[in-house]
């Protein structure tokens, strides 16, 4: 973020190649994890890798690391509202079988 017009930031090519490698490694890793049995941890690991990969793409390929706060807010905000949708819906399904108290 050398100049104030942050949109002009040019990411060095080496960064792109590094990220690309990381993404490929992540993909291979996910596949490998899927084939071994770690119990419940399988899903956790696979999703963590997916989230990491997505974050890398967003930050570097999509230049969010070099962008204004507003863009960060847009990205964060959409994830927040998606979580609202998922959590409040899931909440219903999780709680349907609960016993009523009293």
């Amino acid at each position: 973020m050398s100049d104030n017009h942050n949109q002009h930031h040019i990411v060095p090519l080496s960064t792109y190649y590094t990220i690309f490698l990381a993404l490929m490694v992540g993909t291979a890793l996910t596949w490998w994890v899927a084939t071994i049995d770690l119990g419940a941890m399988n899903n956790v690991i696979m999703l963590t890798i997916a989230v990491t990969k997505a974050t890398l793409v967003v930050l570097f390929f999509m230049h969010v690391k070099y962008s204004s706060k507003l863009i960060w807010l847009a990205v964060g905000g959409s994830i927040f509202f998606l979580l609202i949708l998922i959590v409040l819906t899931l909440n219903d399904y999780m709680a349907r079988g609960w016993y009523t108290f009293g």
């Binding site: 507003l70 905000g77 959409s78 509202f81 609202i84 949708l85 409040l88 819906t89 909440n91 219903d92 399904y93 999780m94 709680a95 349907r96 609960w98 009523t100």
Partner: protein, 533 residues
């Protein structure tokens, strides 16, 4: 009249149809929305005619179901959601921001055509067999049982959704990036805050209803069974997805109207809005918390009672910012210099009717009571109070308030007041009895009903005919004023606000010089130069 205006800049048909001027696009929206309001109103008239007698003898049950469905669909998706943002919002936002246009003028034109295309598509669905699912499209009725044109109608709504998204997106970028020099966030008119909050909902909510429609269509077209209990799907999941959008959507309808009310009160009382920042933030609060309450439509739908509990308490909380607004508006009136023009009469109507509509929302948020009133006419009354008494009244106030700016001419003040009074009376007569009928147990979406409810229905139908007169009058005298109205002058109300700092009607570029803002919103200098008392 000024010689150089957006209206006479070019007069060919093409110059209208391909315009990128937000003001012309706004006018095209007004025309489109009025047309659909007429159609929706026509269906309303059929509903009320049918319900005069308990027997259900005017329409067949099948037709009746199609009629109220199309009434709801037209009014919600093609009238109320675009109503204020796309018309007054489009016209005023760049003016209020002191800029030449919205951020993406071509996109703005595109969203108009998307709107037109989507709504005409749904109109086509009426011809192609109608739609009988109710505006809520509940599964599995809509996916496996209905034999009407569900897919075309839903497709039209889907297409129309893009229009809403694009408008919201356009407005958000415009508000972030296009403010005149010196126009900081806390100098923005409250209408702009309201539009911003609305856009937020449009951008975050609409895609979810879009995917829901896709899933319903996939079920109908391909036979995929996502909501179908026969393959283990859950119909209630549809309701979650639907209301995730459609509850916030009711705030898409009311927030802009609240913005209009703030402007009109400030302008007509020539006074700073009491508690500016509370009113501004309550819009954002409603928009955001409004996403947490959708389950209140499903208290008896088979959702978990604990889930219901959470949704209920959040619903009660989302009522608070509305209360804050109402109190601040009332406080603003204190020691104002209040002009009794038509817009103000409509605002007074708005306050009374929205208070009733909103407070009856609390009846519904109260779970133990909602069990009895849900799916009865009590609900119908509640939402007409907020949607017609709130949103439409707000729009009527706004259209009268800015009519001189839009057209350069005044409407007929006397007729304006008379029709406002007619609307107010007709409205209450139409919908107040429905609260009573609803509590007495009359279910909604009933084509024939028990004799005991007839009193209320006759009153309601009588009211509706008065209401129709009240809504038709403005259409006539406003049209008449286009040619014959008195020349308005740039600032007939003697109000402040950038939109009053340019000619009426404004030039295509909005301002002859780029405004630089050094004052807060609603800062009234003395004396004020206005023509109207």
């Amino acid at each position: 009249m000024p010689t150089n205006t957006y209206l006479n800049a070019a007069t060919t048909l093409k110059s209208w149809l391909l315009t990128r001027d937000h003001k012309r696009i706004a006018l095209m929206y007004i025309a489109g929305i009025t047309f659909f309001f007429g159609i929706g109103g026509f269906f309303a008239a059929l509903i009320r005619l049918e319900l005069v007698t308990p027997a259900g003898d005017l329409l067949t049950d099948e037709t009746y179901n199609k009629v109220f469905t199309m009434h709801g669909v037209m009014m919600v998706f093609f009238v109320l959601i675009p109503l204020i943002p796309a018309s007054l919002g489009n016209f005023l936002l760049p003016l209020m921001l002191g800029t030449k246009d919205v951020a993406f003028p071509k996109l703005n034109l595109l969203s108009f055509y998307v709107y037109l295309f989507g709504s005409l598509f749904t109109l086509y669905a009426i011809v192609a067999g109608g739609l009988d699912t109710g505006w809520t499209f509940y599964t599995p009725f809509s996916t496996v049982a209905s034999t009407s044109a569900v897919v075309p109608a839903a497709l039209g709504i889907f297409i129309n959704g893009f229009s809403s998204i694009l408008t919201g997106l356009n407005f958000m970028v415009t508000i972030h990036k296009m403010r005149a020099p010196g126009l900081t966030w806390f100098r923005l008119p409250l209408f702009v805050w309201a539009l911003y909050a609305t856009s937020l909902i449009q951008v975050l909510g609409t895609p979810v209803v879009a995917i829901t429609i896709v899933l319903v269509a996939a079920e109908r077209i391909f036979g995929f069974g996502l909501f179908n209990p026969a393959v283990g799907g859950d119909p209630v999941l549809f309701q979650h997805l639907f209301w995730f959008y459609s509850h916030p959507a009711v705030y898409i309808m009311i927030l802009p109207a609240m913005g209009v009310v703030s402007e009109v009160i400030a302008g007509m009382a020539r006074k700073q809005i009491f508690g500016y920042s509370f009113v501004a933030f309550s819009s954002l609060g409603i928009a955001i918390v409004g996403f947490l309450v959708w389950g209140h439509h499903m208290f008896v739908a088979g959702q978990s009672i604990y889930s219901a509990l959470v949704f209920s308490v959040l619903t009660f909380i989302v009522a608070i910012p509305s209360a804050v607004k109402v109190f601040n508006w009332t406080a603003t009136m204190y020691k104002g210099s209040i002009s009794w023009q038509t817009p103000m009469i409509y605002v007074a109507g708005f306050i009374g009717l929205f208070a009733i509509g909103g407070l009856t929302g609390l009846f519904l948020a109260a779970m133990g009571l909602d069990i009895h009133v849900t799916d009865t006419y009590f609900i119908v009354a509640h939402f007409h109070y907020v949607m017609v008494g709130g949103a439409i009244m707000g729009y009527m106030a706004g259209i009268h308030y800015w009519w001189p700016k839009i057209t350069g001419r005044m409407y007929n003040e006397f007729l304006g007041k008379v029709s406002a009074a007619i609307v107010f009376i007709g409205f209450n007569l139409t919908f107040f009895p429905q609260f009573i009928a609803g509590y007495a147990g009359m279910p909604r979406r009933y084509h024939a009903y028990a004799d005991a409810y007839q009193v209320w229905n006759v009153l309601s139908s009588a009211g509706a005919s008065i209401l129709a007169v009240g809504f038709t009058m403005p259409l006539l005298y406003l049209a008449w004023s286009l040619k014959n109205g008195e020349i308005a002058g740039d600032n007939p109300w003697g109000a402040v606000g950038l939109e009053w700092n340019t000619t009426s009607p404004p030039p295509t570029e909005n301002f002859h010089t780029q405004p630089i803002v050094t004052w807060d919103a609603y800062e009234y200098p003395t004396p004020v130069e206005g023509h109207v008392v």
